[in-house]
């Protein structure tokens, strides 16, 4: 199904409900779908599980969702930063569950969900605290940990450009988690700088095929 084209970010995220698992793209500010996150803040959904590389910075975006106690669990690799004060406070208060995952395992678990893989053995994290309680196995003399897919109901993604069929291209290191989160969520919601006609994107250069995309919204050119 060709994606719905929402008129506003608010309309794009309107289906996100209490208790949903929401993947949010971005590494630092690059690729962070800030307008969609702001709309999620406005829409009022709570008790969210958020999958993101980080856990919010300063007083914006995901950090505000956490400040408002709308997030009950964060699955991420790097929550603690110099300006992650809202995460730090909620976590220390015991009001926010944290599942800490090495970044590559986070990425591979998201990919596995999108790719229909039931689990995989990874050497990353073997012998560490983060493998405690997980199944391990020696394969050809090396230790591996069994990791499981991370599925989500929604993904919020920022791309550079989409065609009306949902095919996406990204920009530089802002690509990061977008392509894999788009495959792992039941509904992928994407903010782009512009939406173009089918045939405007070279089929060789499409990074995310439109099959993975459910909703598009144009946010104007946020890169310049």
């Amino acid at each position: 199904m060709a994606p719905r084209i929402a008129a506003t970010a608010a309309e794009a995220v309107a289906n996100i409900h209490d208790g949903a698992t929401v993947m949010i793209g971005g590494f630092g500010n690059a690729g962070q779908p800030m307008e969609l996150i702001d709309a999620l803040l406005d829409c009022g959904a709570s008790n969210l599980t958020v999958v993101n590389n980080n856990a919010g910075q300063a007083d914006a975006g995901l950090a505000l969702l956490i400040k408002e106690r709308r997030v009950s669990k964060v699955i991420c690799s790097f929550p603690r930063q110099s300006d992650s004060w809202h995460f730090d406070e909620a976590y220390r208060a015991g009001e926010l569950e944290l599942e800490l995952v090495p970044q590559g395992n986070l990425a591979e678990r998201i990919r596995a969900a999108g790719a229909g893989i039931g689990g995989f053995f990874t050497p990353t994290g073997y012998g560490t605290m983060l493998a405690e309680g997980k199944e391990t196995r020696m394969i050809d003399g090396r230790g591996y940990v069994l990791e499981t897919p991370i599925h989500a109901e929604f993904a919020l993604i920022k791309a550079l450009r989409a065609d009306t069929l949902g095919n996406l291209v990204y920009r530089k290191t802002a690509r990061n988690f977008g392509p894999i989160m788009a495959t792992a969520a039941k509904q992928s919601i994407v903010q782009v700088d512009e939406i173009v006609a089918p045939g405007s994107l070279d089929p060789e250069n499409v990074i995310t095929p439109g099959i993975f995309i459910d909703t598009l919204v144009t946010i104007g050119d946020t890169n310049s």
Partner: protein, 218 residues
């Protein structure tokens, strides 16, 4: 209210393909396998907005290429030259099969040697002694799509039903088929129950007499 229908004549291959095409939801992402099911593409309308996937690495596949359109680098899973539509995309084999295995395709239409009442599919190997096996993407297609439909003749040349209680041919996928289109009848499979949606050139009672599975009328 019964939705059961019947026609006097058995369906031709084109009639079967047309019915499958009509049943495909608007906007669906579809894989038509190789062989007979690819004929379905000839009956899809542009209003349906169906996107075709070919597992060798493409979404937005267009019709078979002819004349100057033929390009050895643009083929379908049956190795037949095809065309690309506006909005197409290319991807490598791992991404293509991740798309299938991850449940992103809406419908996959396949041929079959046998289907069981529970939806088990056999379509990759006759199991005959000395036969050289080849599987290709059959097992991935069988279990990957949200819905797997089969198009096949209902009876073997010897007159035996290919809708069976238990597969005698080697399994391609377990419990994966939800609909079977044949020249004689169309079946919906769900929860180990086989519902006959329509019969063609055969009555429901004759069908009950000839098939080794319990049948329900729609």
């Amino acid at each position: 209210m019964s939705t059961f229908t019947t026609t006097d004549a058995a369906l031709t291959r084109d009639e079967m393909a047309k019915i499958v095409a009509v049943d495909i939801p608007a906007g669906a992402f579809v894989n038509l396998g190789i062989g007979q099911p690819t004929n379905v593409s000839n009956f899809l309308t542009s209003e349906q907005g169906v996107t075709l996937h070919t597992e060798n690495g493409m979404l937005g596949m267009g019709p078979v290429a002819t004349g100057d359109e033929i390009d050895g680098d643009l083929i379908n899973a049956g190795k037949i030259p095809v065309t690309e539509l506006p909005g197409a995309s290319y991807f490598h084999q791992a991404d293509s099969f991740a798309m299938m295995r991850g449940g992103h395709l809406d419908v996959c239409v396949l041929g079959a040697f046998q289907v069981s009442g529970g939806g088990d599919l056999a379509n990759w190997h006759t199991g005959a002694p000395g036969a050289i096996p080849a599987v290709g993407g059959a097992m991935d297609l069988a279990i990957g799509a949200k819905s797997t439909w089969v198009m096949m003749g209902l009876f073997t040349k010897a007159g035996e039903s290919k809708l069976v209680e238990t597969l005698s041919y080697p399994v391609t996928g377990l419990g994966c088929v939800s609909r079977i289109y044949t020249e004689s009848a169309i079946f919906d499979l769900a929860d180990n129950k086989v519902t006959v949606r329509s019969t063609h050139g055969i009555s429901f009672d004759e069908l009950v007499a000839r098939l080794p599975v319990d049948l329900h009328k729609a």
